[in-house]
């Protein structure tokens, strides 16, 4: 069986949290279940739990919190968009202390439900709280500076490419939506910073599920000379990494640390949804919920970063660490829109 960064109850063998830029994450710090027994519900979007990145990570965060913080967790997957409102409101009705919505597609439903249940604490990943209708005060937006992780990944890719006489690197997006474009913008900026002469390709598969579509896009890019493919398309993107593998090129994973896929994974641009979920739960347990605002997870807070760097990239570790420091220090500003 695979080493998978997700799965109910299989939270022990976490491998996603070692980043070169900073020390271990908060989630590994706690040892034994402590604290108040609160009830936390998680509602996924229609991608399902086995997307191996986004929903899976959120689920893992909840699992970590169950085992380490001793909370009661429940996950509701959504089969269709008709499930969002009922899923969220069911949890609220059942007096869950915290209800977390995963994903961008749930913004509308979250706005409505949160307004109806002002006594329940809500958090929503990837959505700016201020963009919700009526700006409900009991919602915390959990945002990520995906572009910072993308930047590091792009920087590393370009360094590697330059040394290996590759002229081009590329990225495969699922759909042209903000969380995806943040990654790609950072990736391209990082690459140009490392090697201004490098060519970057980008394409969207219009799909987050069908792997063959991403695989084709990636093969096309490899055909145009791309030596490294960065996937930003959830489950579909696994096809892009598969393309890189079968063509003897390198791939860069997304969201979770996808190094387990093999040695062709140069690194992963990580977005620690699990950390965000875990931290938010911990906060609520401690009585410190930041309602009505956003919490941004960035390189500084170790909310984004890059995953395990493969053997091929270890020699650039020092350079990457320096860039990471510069970003944290604010000397490098990373753009978040694709030009």
């Amino acid at each position: 069986m695979s080493l998978v960064a997700a799965g109910c109850g299989s939270s022990g063998n976490s491998s996603s949290t070692s980043t070169p830029a900073a020390a271990g994450s908060t989630s590994t710090a706690a040892a034994a279940p402590t604290g108040k027994k609160i009830k936390v519900g998680l509602v996924t979007d229609i991608g399902g739990l086995n997307d191996r990145s986004f929903n899976a990570l959120a689920n893992k965060g909840l699992g970590d919190a169950e085992s380490q913080l001793g909370i009661d967790g429940r996950v509701l997957t959504s089969k269709s968009n008709a499930d969002y409102v009922p899923n969220l409101s069911t949890l609220a009705q059942q007096k869950y202390d915290l209800v977390i919505g995963v994903g961008f597609l749930m913004a509308d439903a979250m706005g409505k439900v949160a307004k109806k249940y002002p006594g329940t604490k809500f958090a929503i990943i990837d959505v700016d709280q201020t963009s919700l209708k009526g700006k409900p005060a009991n919602v915390e937006g959990l945002l990520f500076k995906e572009e910072e992780g993308g930047y590091l990944a792009g920087y590393l890719a370009a360094l590697y490419a330059k040394d290996h006489k590759m002229t081009t690197i590329s990225s495969v997006g699922g759909q042209k939506i903000p969380p995806v474009d943040h990654y790609i913008a950072g990736y391209q900026a990082g690459a140009k910073a490392a090697d201004p002469g490098i060519k970057t390709l980008n394409g969207y598969s219009q799909d987050f599920v069908d792997q063959s579509k991403c695989k084709e896009l990636a093969l096309g890019q490899i055909g145009q000379g791309s030596g490294i493919v960065f996937q930003v398309a959830g489950q579909c993107g696994l096809g892009a990494l598969d393309a890189a593998k079968s063509k003897g090129k390198l791939g860069i994973g997304v969201d979770a640390d996808q190094a387990y896929l093999g040695s062709h994974i140069l690194t992963s641009a990580t977005k620690k949804v699990d950390v965000a979920v875990f931290d938010t739960i911990k906060e609520v347990q401690a009585g410190g919920f930041k309602a009505g605002t956003n919490t941004t997870f960035d390189l500084k807070t170790n909310g984004v970063g890059i995953g395990k760097v493969s053997a091929a990239g270890t020699k650039y570790q020092a350079q990457i660490d320096k860039v990471a420091k510069d970003i944290v220090a604010g000397t490098i500003t990373v753009p978040d829109t694709v030009k």
Binding site: S80, A82, P86, N87, T90, Q93, L105, K116, Q175, I177
Partner: protein, 407 residues
């Protein structure tokens, strides 16, 4: 002339069974459903769970236990029932869209595409014309959606009428064409993509006045909108049109015998077009219910995720293509999808993800058994024809008839 070679000879036991199956038309679908659930139960059993507990849990999740006043959590049951009925409305309409075609001898696999065109039209109409009075806006949006569905289905009807193109193939193709049109319209940079969210592949929200009134439950939390009444009303209209109007009469005549209809002066081609258009009206209306009732906008992935039109095929078949049967079949399928949702089905009883797939299997089995059951009904009819006296010579078998199995 060929000699009379009637082909059916059955013992009295089989006859009795067939009679039972055919009485009132309700027994056979019930048996079909029970068999399908029985098979589903075996699957549950095979996984080491208790089928009865599982089905009880699914039943509770449907909210139908609300009808049993002594049941536990009334509020939860009410919410569940609202969601079940929200599912049911469009399912009724899509079922009618398939059933009406069946009655005219056409197989409308295109309810999904007609539904999609309905949602697109509804979202367009609902998000435009903000100045209209509410009731007018709702009615107009529903009308536009129904017409869009009708036009889309009419293509298949027109192709059948003018070139004989098989509507099964054309409607399948139209389904996918509708899907990509939707993805194009609401995708980034698409002509109908939301003005205020340039980064999201979604439509504009419909305006408040275009929303269907919610009469049970919280109107902000996807309470039950009046669409269910629209659907039931449509089923009534379906019955009237089919059984009491010239249109329906002609459609049935064409369905049973195109040459006889033609010979009687009924325009067969025209009937195909009109019939398909009526199907499209139903399916398009279904689309408008979802948009105006609870969804309020349409994202590209909503279009590809929707299955309601396909389920309409199963609904119509289980409902024997009748108005009342379609309503009950839609309720069954709507309830099943609600009852197996993760929030309602306790994973300790049965894993909801499995239950959802089990539901699909049960739906498939229902349709499969119905396909055999249609045969039984036909055999019964032929038998009765023969029993009517002297009818033997009246029914020379053709290769297409569904006669008996025994020589």
């Amino acid at each position: 002339m060929t000699a009379p070679t009637p082909s059916d000879h059955r013992g009295p036991a089989a006859t009795r069974l067939l009679r039972h199956l055919s009485v009132g038309g309700a027994v056979a679908p019930l048996i079909t459903t029970i068999v399908a659930f029985f098979v589903g139960g075996l699957v549950v059993l095979a996984t080491g769970k208790d089928p009865l507990t599982t089905y009880k849990a699914i039943f509770d999740g449907t909210g139908l236990n609300w009808l049993l006043p002594w049941s536990g959590d009334r509020a939860l049951a009410a919410t569940n029932l609202q969601q079940t009925l929200i599912n049911t409305g469009p399912l009724i309409l899509c079922g009618l869209a398939v059933a009406y075609a069946f009655r005219a001898g056409l197989f409308n696999i295109g309810a999904q595409g007609q539904y999609t065109m309905g949602t697109i039209a509804a979202v367009y109409a609902g998000s435009s014309w903000a100045g209209l009075p509410g009731w007018l806006h709702v009615v107009l949006a529903m009308a536009v959606a129904a017409l869009a569905g009708a036009a889309w289905a009419g293509i298949a009807g027109a192709l059948r009428a003018s070139t004989g193109a098989n509507e099964v193939i054309t409607t399948i193709m139209l389904n996918y064409t509708a899907l990509w049109i939707g993805v194009y319209l609401f995708g980034l940079g698409g002509p109908l993509q939301a003005n205020d969210q340039p980064d999201v592949p979604v439509s504009n929200d419909i305006v408040g006045g275009a929303k269907l009134p919610v009469f049970w439950g919280d109107k902000d939390l996807q309470g039950l909108h009046v669409g269910i009444f629209v659907a039931v009303l449509a089923a009534g209209i379906f019955w009237v049109v089919l059984n009491r109007s010239r249109l329906g009469y002609e459609a049935r005549a064409v369905g049973f015998s195109p040459p006889a209809a033609r010979s009687a002066g009924i325009g067969v081609g025209r009937t195909y077009v009109v019939t398909m258009a009526i199907c499209g009206l139903f399916a398009g209306l279904a689309g408008s219910l979802d948009i105006l009732g609870w969804q309020f906008h349409l994202a590209t992935n909503d279009i590809s995720a929707s299955q309601v039109g396909f389920l309409g095929i199963a609904v119509a078949l289980l409902g024997r293509n009748t108005a009342i049967g379609t309503c009950f079949a839609a309720l069954l399928f709507g309830a099943l999808s609600q009852g197996t949702s993760v929030r309602n089905l306790d994973p300790a009883v049965f894993q909801p993800e499995l239950a959802q797939n089990l539901t699909t299997v049960i739906q498939g089995l229902v349709v499969l058994l119905v396909s055999a059951d249609v045969l039984l009904a036909s055999v019964w009819r032929r038998r009765r024809a023969r029993a009517g006296g002297g009818g033997a010579a009246a029914a020379p078998p053709t290769p297409t008839t569904l006669g008996s199995v025994s020589p």
